[in-house]
Amino acid sequence: MQRQYLLPILLAWVFFHAAPAWSMTMAVFPIEDLSQGQNGVNIEMTEYLSWDMNQKGFDVVAKDEVMSFMARNRVRWLGFLDTRHIILAREELGVDLILFGTMTLRQEKISPSFGLTLYLVRTEDTRTLWTGSGGLSQQDIVNLLGVGEKEEAEGLLPRLAQNVMTSWPVEFETVEKQQHALEIESVDLTPVHVRRGDQVNCNVRLRTRWSDEDMPRVFFKVSGRVYMARQSEDGFGYESDWMVSDRDGRYPVTLVINWPSGYKKVAFLGAYTIDSAPPKLVLELKGVQLEGTVAFRDQVIIIPRMLRREPVARWKLKVEDEAGQEQMSYTGYGQLPKRFVWNGRGKDGWPAAEGIYRVTLQVWDRSDNLAVATQPVAVARTPPAMVLEAKNQGRDMIVDLDHDGKVPIAFWRMEMRSETGELIKVAEGDQLPYRMDVTLPNKVIKVAEQLVPPAAGRNVVRVAEAAPLMMDVALPEDKDTRKVEVTVVMRDILGNFSREKIVDLNGLANQQELDRQPPKESPVWIDEF
């Protein structure tokens, strides 16, 4: 009688304890090995886990099938999976469970040590049923008095796997199933920066397609307004266009799915910003101010300043002459450079002609609002023109030095030399006009350190900048006069430089004296003679 019940009881015990494992198919994905760099694989651990799962009673899918699945579905990374691939594994491999994981540590130099983390996922609802992790090193295996302790890593991997799987669940069916997730493959919301009245397009692709009887209403919701979505031909895509609001601000976009059953799913897709205000911009030119305009000779530094910090989409800097001809331009995308430098050359590379130019900076923000800032700039390359006036006063000679031009002088130097090249006097400074009183006969020179304003209405000798003074001022009665040579060097604050030489200062003084005398009256006929 007892033997009669023994067999059914034994069969029932085996069924209840082993049935879950028997009825389940499992895929063991290659275990990632981080010690081998990105996407390294640990074949040894993968094979051991496959063998162990088989021993636990699971129907383990062959390694080649898993590899083929990974190649077919472009599973490029090991150590993790996404929901789509888990669902695909169920459809294509027919597996109930997937085991995957990572060898987080593998070093065999000093006291071999390994680390492992494992995930077990149910393919039906993509839920993670079990996880385990742990580390083990040879140093951890301590025997009494060190008897039988090994130095090699032999047997350490299986031991680690068993340690990690100490919490392996006996029963899987009791774990509650989770609701299917709404899988969004891609979201394309363009443009994300718009102006009032612009159009926005939203295109969403889902990984789910519903049957006609279960077809939900899909729409996009923005700031309380809804826009019905058009379904694509393949049934996975939903798209809609709408005109944006007439108020600036940030507008979040959500996808709303309403099923006939009343179930509703809302997913945040992104946001767009309405901005209709152009950026506030000013231009600052670093240079010498001349009559309210910045002037330069070699280069001018242009500094753009945003009065309100705002991202810039693109910009253009251009320089135009007075006729509106573009001399130079720079364009760029993204943030503005901290400064620009114009070297005063045109597009052909030659120095631009003297004159007034307009520097214009155009800036577009992300919503394509345009801001423009303009500043005039002057190119000044004329060297300073010297004005020298010499006047004999008895044995003395008064020399007045000045310049003719709008650009202030930064430095000047005047040298007087005798005919034999002997240096008589050197004078230099940074301000003009300047007067010198010179006594020549006994070579004693007095210098009046007094600045005088330029005398108005005086006859002056202008030394042209292009052609050096070539005039013979020596008069017949001065033939025996001792000659004094004067060299004048000038540099203005823009860096323009001139160097002039007067070969005979006495001759020049005499000539100027003659020029100052009133013209002699010409003889006139007297009618009544």
């Binding site: 993790f80 000093i110 983390t117 996880t131 969004i184």
Partner: protein, 201 residues
């Protein structure tokens, strides 16, 4: 008699050495209250930022931490593949901290209540001489609120393998994986003590 006394004294010292190792608890900074009255069942763990020279530390610690979260009772931890895909769509490099806006979008797409992001500050595997395993590790783990994208809790924790030594060499943690697991468990213990509620409770 003296030899026996000396033997027991040595045994006592060996036990005392283990007992004396001080283990500081994780330092938790609460910047805002935890949402949903602490009952968090759906979490996304981002790949952690690795500021050490140890290769792959950010990856393996984030996986071990996600592992510990599931074991500790969080019903749903978003698959790393899903998290990475959303980050990729938002053009965020794994390990890089997403913006508040991106955190909100990611949390919404994955349907999670909070996002966990961490930084590995220090990771050493061997002792100073490099001759034996003596790991040490310091991490900062942050809880980011899904609705606002802001950090609400931040936890700093540092551990050395030797701090788990009980008697002589016994109990000492000698692998960085095991140390990561212990650190993760201790941080989660602190979180659950300080207001996080297990899903089944």
């Amino acid at each position: 008699m003296k030899k026996i006394t000396l033997f027991f004294a040595l045994v006592f010292l060996a036990f005392a050495q283990g007992a004396c190792s001080v283990k500081e608890p994780p330092i938790l900074v609460k910047l805002a209250p935890i949402p949903y009255e602490g009952k968090i069942c759906r979490v996304a763990v981002l790949p952690f930022d690795n500021q050490t020279n140890y290769p792959g530390a950010g990856i393996f610690f984030s996986r071990i931490f996600a592992n510990a979260l599931i074991v500790a009772g969080t019903n749903l931890v978003a698959h790393e593949g899903d998290t990475r895909k959303v980050l990729q769509q938002m053009q965020v490099i794994p390990g890089q901290m997403p913006t508040i806006e991106q955190i909100r979008a990611l949390a919404d797409r994955l349907g999670v209540q909070i996002v966990v992001y961490g930084t590995i500050m220090e990771l050493r595997e061997k002792d100073d001489r490099g001759k034996s395993l003596d790991p040490s590790m310091a991490v900062i783990i942050r809880i980011l609120e899904a609705d606002s994208g802001r950090t609400i809790w931040s936890t700093y924790h540092r551990r050395e393998g030797g701090q788990y030594r009980s008697v002589m060499h016994l109990g000492m943690v000698s692998s960085v994986t095991e140390l990561s697991k212990r650190i993760s468990d201790e941080i989660l213990d602190t979180w659950y003590t300080e207001g996080l509620i297990r899903c089944e409770e």
